[in-house]
Amino acid sequence: MSEDIENQLRRVMRPVEPPAGFAERLMRALPERSPRATLASVAVLHPAPRASVWRRLVGPTALAASFVIAVVMGHYVADYQAEQERRAGLEASRELMDALRVTSKKLDQAYEAVNRPPQAPAAAEENRS
């Protein structure tokens, strides 16, 4: 029964032709298309497929090149920034050491002044006369 219905469906659903003049109307509606070489002539002339292959490769190649350049530039910029930070760190360290050195010297002088023994009174009188 199922097969009967399916066969009947196929019979009922046969393709029907479009209204007369369909193909002519369609051909008039087609946009202009530049004539190209036929496939047979393309098979004889090898440069055309090669050009086509190149044209197809240009996009991916450009994309890959951009990616490589971006990666290299990224590395360079990162290295440069790291070097700059290292130099700035060294400079800051040097300035800190200088400041500590000066402070230490000043503290030594103050310590010596505080711990210096007082002068004797006789010696002080002699000095006055």
Binding site: I5, P15, P18, R33, R36, T38
Partner: protein, 206 residues
């Protein structure tokens, strides 16, 4: 220096035409060859649109859009088999898109879309087909766009389930279940139309 061109407007049956050379010439920019391809496939594409959208003018509009797309994509067509598959896929999916975009303006109406079905049957055999055709139109009008496309590709284009699944981008099991449900519904409509008697029904029916 005039060369006689083959008259592609008449008798374009695939078995009478070297379809591969027609495709090659059309790819090479030969407008006459392209017209030959259109004539070979116009009934199939137009009928997909007609049975999907239910209106002759909408079907013609869809068929024209499909062939215009083909004209722009000719370079991507690899063989005459690929061309047939491509046309069926694009026509069915374009029709589904149009149904989904304007479901209320593209509805079925038996009398308006298929006035030939309202004529009385000429004889018994034709009458059986006519009733089936009526039940089918009614069913197609009630089916969802994707299910409608499945039925059209299966029974109008006689495509197998795997190809329909590829063309409509859906799982094979979904295609099978669409077919099964649609056939069950069709049987119901035919019983309703008293086309088949209780003895004709399958034994495993509930």
């Amino acid at each position: 220096m005039s060369r006689a061109e083959p008259n592609l407007a008449v008798n374009l049956q695939p078995e009478h035409v070297d379809t591969d050379s027609l495709l090659r010439s059309a790819c090479g920019g030969d407008a006459k060859a392209f017209e030959g391809l259109v004539r070979l496939h116009q009934a199939s594409v137009y009928s997909i649109g007609y049975r999907m959208l239910g209106k002759r003018d909408a079907a013609e509009d869809l068929a024209q859009d499909v062939f215009l797309q083909l004209y722009r994509k000719l370079d991507s067509i690899e063989s005459i088999e690929h061309l047939g598959f491509w046309l069926r896929r694009v026509a069915a999916n374009l029709a589904i898109d149009r149904l989904r975009r304007a479901p209320f303006t593209t509805g079925y109406s038996l009398e308006s879309v298929a006035p030939e079905l309202a004529d009385p049957p000429a004889d018994d055999a034709a009458g059986g087909d006519l009733l089936m055709a009526r039940a089918l139109w009614k069913l197609l009008g009630e089916l969802a766009p994707a299910a409608r496309a499945v039925m059209v590709l299966r029974y109008q284009e006689d495509r197998d389930v795997a190809e329909i699944a590829t063309a409509l981008d859906m799982p094979v099991n979904t295609v099978k279940s669409h077919i099964k449900r649609s056939l069950t519904a069709l049987r119901g409509k035919m019983i309703g139309a008293q086309l088949i008697t209780a003895e004709d029904l399958p034994e495993d029916r509930p």
